[in-house]
């Protein structure tokens, strides 16, 4: 029965035009950046690495596929949660708004099973979106610009990664990003259980992400106490995949906190959905 539920959830997701907005947006944005990099990438990297060139002699292919992919992911990673929430924030509330939740909830399947199917379908959608981002940013960049070393500029250090040492780091970064985006997917699904229209959960998800990001960015002692508990603080831990050496304890801590958030949001969603009076 769960397989049937999951199958129907995936069909429903991919029958809606809004589900393709994310894929189209990634395709357009990434293509534009790739084109701009192809035409004027050297100037861009010269500008970025300008201060370093006074002390270092940088030689070789600066505009490598790995460099371009890193720049694209760093730029887009804040926008991807919106694309995820567009679909996952609609999973319950959208059905509530269109009245189909009545049919679904009067079927001989438990509400827990319905929610788990929606959760799993939401995660699969998130994974597909991330794979598409990976293909468009990293795969296409490697194809266009070819492989090469990666220069990672940090506030206090400069990390140069050899081409042979980069592939697994990108895979790790995408893996961590999947968990980060799963937090967003679960959070918007949870909000979706409280609403009867999909706009509310989508906007609320973004509002919370923006608020938490601001709280995490501002160096105010009042916020310092809560920063470690905000899921947005840990969503950027994918960058640690490009540290030398990789800071495994920090990544593990962040992953644990994000998984705890997923469990918390899912539990709240389950409680709410099971108690919800379907009046729409």
């Amino acid at each position: 029965m769960f397989a049937g539920l999951l199958y129907s959830e995936l069909i429903k997701i991919f029958s809606k035009p809004r589900s393709y907005i994310g894929f189209v947006a990634i395709t357009i944005i990434v293509s534009l950046i790739q084109m701009a990099m192809y035409l004027d990438g050297l100037n861009y990297f010269s500008f970025v690495t300008g201060p370093l060139q006074a002390s270092f002699n940088l030689e070789g292919n600066l505009v490598s596929g790995n460099m371009v992919a890193f720049v694209i992911i760093q730029t887009l990673i804040l926008q991807i949660p919106l694309l995820v929430a567009l679909v996952t924030g609609d999973l319950i509330s959208g059905e509530s708004a269109t009245g189909t939740l009545r049919i679904l909830a009067s079927k001989p399947v438990s509400r827990t099973a319905i929610l788990f199917a929606k959760f799993t379908a939401g995660l699969l959608y998130t994974l597909l979106l991330l794979i598409w981002l990976g293909f468009m940013s990293w795969g296409l960049a490697l194809f266009i610009f070819g492989p090469g070393d990666l220069i990672v500029l940090k506030s206090e250090e400069l990390i140069i990664l050899q081409n042979a040492d980069i592939g697994w780091r990108f895979l790790l970064a995408f893996g961590i990003s999947f968990i980060s985006l799963s937090v967003v997917a679960t959070f918007s699904l949870c909000l979706s259980c409280f609403a009867d229209n999909s706009i509310g959960p989508i906007i609320s998800t973004m509002a919370v992400i923006i608020l938490f990001t601001i709280m995490g960015t501002l160096e105010i002692p009042f916020f310092d106490a809560v920063k470690p508990y905000l899921f947005t603080t840990h969503m950027i831990v994918w960058r640690n995949s490009f540290d030398l050496p990789v800071s495994t304890p920090q990544i593990c801590t962040s992953l644990t906190i994000m998984i705890a958030h997923i469990i918390l949001f899912l539990s709240v969603a389950l409680y709410r959905f099971n108690k919800k009076d379907i009046l729409s």
């Binding site: 199958y7 069909i11 009545r102 009067s106 001989p108 009046l279």
Partner: protein, 301 residues
């Protein structure tokens, strides 16, 4: 005989507002039970509780002798339903909608069965069109197909004829007759169209303010021999005088355009003959439905 549907002291509160107030109801196998009540009487809330869409505040709901709380999946497998508007996934075709819903119905529904129900409700040839292009009436038909595809033992329909054209209503009536007589399915339907219920129901329950005010078989509730006649003629006062003098009738209050009388069906031919013999021109004779009167009387606050 064990009831197919048994509601006991059903209560639903929304905050301070009591939508359903100690409702009791029994529906037996093979019945076509009309569930009637004015707007806001609690019909839809009751149906939603029956289908576990909302939780009752107190009371119990049993189907086939089993409590819905403890045997939810087992019971819902045997029930087909339409609740209020028949809403479906609008970006999918009617056929795909049924296929998806069949997968989560707890019973195996073959493609042949889906084709059969599509044919039965008159959507053949339109099953591959996306639902967003469907009219309300077509969605109602699709709702019926959905309710029937799992071979249910009981069908619960909330306002099933809303949006149907006259052909659709006749088709629906024939379909209900077929389902009850040929397939032995029990039907529970709410409707505002009293004449429709009068024509197809074998039992009725009228609710008001969340309570059952009357329940019984159509025979028990409606004495078909007793009728209300409305006679439009060129001399209404003489009609009234003649009929009261010659028949056991009870005249209603005076109306300018017509005479209204409570009489007996068997007297109607003699009444008309008498009026014609007395040179009264009769323009119209109407029989007002008894259900309408019963409904108005019982639900008048």
């Amino acid at each position: 005989m064990e009831p197919v549907i048994e509601l006991k002291n059903l209560v639903k509160d929304f905050g301070e507002f009591r939508a359903v107030n100690g409702l009791n109801l029994n529906v037996y196998k093979g019945d076509v039970c009309g569930f009637l009540g004015p707007n806001g009487a609690g019909k839809s809330t009751t149906i939603r509780m029956m289908l576990t869409l909302i939780a009752p505040t107190s009371g119990s709901i049993s189907f086939f002798g089993k409590d819905i709380k403890t045997h939810r999946s087992e019971v819902l497998r045997k029930i087909g339903s339409i609740v209020e508007k028949p809403d479906f996934y609008k970006f999918l075709s009617a056929k795909k909608n049924l296929e998806l819903l069949a997968r989560i119905s707890g019973v195996t529904v073959s493609k042949k069965k889906i084709a059969e129900v599509i044919e039965l409700v008159g959507l053949h040839g339109k099953e591959n069109e996306v639902v967003k292009t469907y009219s309300f009436g077509m969605k109602q038909r699709l709702g019926l197909a959905h309710a029937l595809m799992c071979d249910p033992e009981l069908i619960i329909l909330d306002e099933p004829t809303t949006g149907l054209d006259p052909h659709g209503i006749i088709d629906f009536r024939n379909l209900i007759n077929y389902l009850t007589k040929d397939k032995g399915i029990t039907v529970f339907l709410s409707s505002h169209i009293l004449s429709e219920i009068e024509m197809i129901a074998t039992s009725m329950a009228i609710i008001n303010n969340g309570k059952t005010v009357v329940q019984g078989t159509v025979g028990e509730l409606m004495d078909n021999e007793k009728i209300i006649l409305q006679i439009r003629s060129d001399n209404n006062s003489k009609v009234r005088e003649l009929l009261q003098a010659n028949f056991k009738v009870e005249a209603d209050s005076l109306h300018q355009d017509y005479t209204e009388l409570h009489g007996r069906t068997s007297d109607v031919p003699s009444m008309i003959r008498l009026l014609v013999e007395n040179d009264i021109n009769i323009y119209e004779v109407n029989k007002r439905t008894k259900l309408e009167d019963l409904f108005l009387q019982l639900t008048h606050n």
